[in-house]
């Protein structure tokens, strides 16, 4: 029998090593794997690389930054409101920031999950973010090459999951979660509810279980 249900977030994150690249799902507060982030912050790993769009206000993620667990942040919107933590860490040389256009971030992650090592995109051409990139013309238009962005682990959040790892999301809480599920060598999915196998509509399963390693039910505390 296949059973990917793991009931304890602490157990789920136990194998995330120092130096790991961690993909963190969510957009603003929607679809953020908060319980997994808090369990990870509790473990205090070192030298993490975090790739996430803009969720650095999430408490667990904040704590990872505050306590010096993160060496590098890859993000399209690495800005926190009501705090200059990000600026302070960068100035102190304690955090490296890689700013990535949001669509490029999404496509690099999807590429990693889809076995595409590199692709070309028009986004950022002619801007400082393309400065060190390889440029190439196709049909008279200039593009830059971008490479796949894989994670040692993906921490994601879904509405429901079953023991095969199938996931469905709630509305815009879908965002980066399905593509990060594809791109993590290990994919840990926090879910609000466990579904009996066969009760999720096969036409509506957004993340087939093939991409998911552990399903961790967490009752939302809000």
């Amino acid at each position: 029998m296949i059973d990917k249900i793991v009931t304890d977030p602490v157990l789920a994150v136990a194998d995330i090593a120092d130096g790991a690249t961690v993909l963190v799902g969510g957009f603003a507060w929607a679809g953020v794997p908060s319980a997994l982030l808090e369990a990870l912050a509790e473990r205090q790993p070192r030298n993490l690389t975090i790739a996430t769009n803009a969720n650095i206000g999430a408490p667990g993620l904040m704590r990872l930054f505050e306590t010096g667990c993160v060496r590098k942040l890859m993000s399209s919107f690495p800005r926190m409101f009501n705090t200059t933590l990000m600026e302070d860490l960068c100035k102190a040389g304690k955090l490296v920031l890689e700013l990535i256009p949001q669509g490029t971030l999404a496509e690099r992650i999807r590429a990693a999950g889809a076995g595409i090592p590199a692709f070309y995109t028009p986004a950022a051409v002619g801007t400082p973010l393309a400065a060190d990139k390889e440029h190439r013309d196709f049909a008279g238009v200039t593009y830059i090459m971008e490479t796949a962005l894989a994670g040692d682990v993906a921490l994601i959040m879904a509405a429901k999951g079953d023991r095969w790892g199938n996931l469905v999301y709630n509305k815009t809480a879908r965002n980066f979660n399905p593509i990060m599920a594809m791109a993590g060598k290990l994919c840990l999915a926090q879910v609000a509810e466990v579904a009996e196998l066969g009760t999720l509509n096969p036409e509506q399963i957004i993340t087939p279980g093939i991409f998911v390693d552990q399903v961790i039910p967490v009752t939302r505390s809000t």
């Binding site: 957009f27 603003a28 507060w29 929607a30 679809g31 769009n53 803009a54 399209s76 919107f77 690495p78 800005r79 200059t84 990000m86 600026e87 960068c90 920031l97 700013l99 990535i100 256009p101 949001q102 669509g103 490029t104 999404a106 496509e107 992650i109 999807r110 995109t121 028009p122 986004a123 950022a124 051409v125 002619g126 801007t127 400082p128 973010l129 999301y169 709630n170 509305k171 815009t172 809480a173 879908r174 965002n175 980066f176 979660n177 399905p178 593509i179 957004i206 809000t222």
Partner: protein, 225 residues
């Protein structure tokens, strides 16, 4: 001279230029107001980067769903016919040329339509780009919404942008409190200007040559509180 347009009035003016059936992405901040002023009878599909198409009005107070938000994090609603999708699909729509119009704010626009709207190197704030580069590079038409000059009166429409670019040659039209300016192959053309403001005075507020369109009109908007 008429009063300069308020931000809501600029949003109203942009909304008049959005045709029935268009797919439109509204940037965070000022542009999100545009959807409130669509003329009756026009049906438009509003898209946001975070995986939503068919955005309806802002959510009513007390009816907010934290999982139904736009790219600026505001609680919105979904129209009948709307749909949700993941980020790679959302940017496939943008990069693939499926967005008819994007409306973005700007720090600077050049006479060639270059856009700068993401980074103020002299400020203390961490730069953040979001989806602006993808949108600017790939939307069929790009509308900029901004004040004609910055608060201290410095021109924001320039021969060349001084700030880091978002994309080159991407802006089609600039909607401001004083004028609507189109960026065409041979330069900047003032399509509309507020009553009583003459071209020379507007030119003095502009860092690049502008000229009046043959069929220029008065820029005006209804009183919106």
């Amino acid at each position: 001279m008429s009063k300069p347009l308020s931000r809501m009035q600029i949003a109203w003016r942009v909304a008049q230029d959005i045709d029935n059936g268009c797919v439109v992405n509204l940037g965070a901040g000022m542009p999100t107001m545009v959807s409130d002023f669509l003329p009756a009878g026009r049906e438009v599909m509003f898209h946001a980067e975070n995986g939503i198409l068919g955005i309806g009005p802002r959510a009513a107070k007390g009816k907010e769903d934290p999982d139904v938000i736009n790219a600026g994090g505001q609680a919105v609603t979904l129209l009948p016919g709307g749909s949700y999708f993941h980020h790679a699909d959302s940017f496939a729509m943008i990069r693939g040329g499926h967005i008819d119009i994007a409306v973005l704010g700007a720090y600077e626009v050049s006479a060639q339509g270059d856009l700068a709207n993401w980074h103020l190197p002299d400020s203390n704030v961490t730069p953040a780009v979001g989806g602006a580069m993808d949108l600017a590079a790939c939307a069929h038409r790009l509308f900029v919404m901004m004040d004609y000059c910055s608060r201290d009166g410095t021109p924001k429409i320039l021969k060349q942008c001084t700030l880091p670019l978002t994309a080159r040659r991407c802006v089609n039209s600039i909607y401001t409190d004083l004028a609507v300016v189109d960026v065409i192959a041979d330069g900047l053309v003032v399509r509309e200007i507020i009553e009583g403001l003459d071209l020379k005075t507007l030119q003095d507020k502009t860092g690049a040559p502008i000229r009046l369109a043959d069929n220029w009109r008065i820029l005006s908007a209804p009183d919106i509180s």
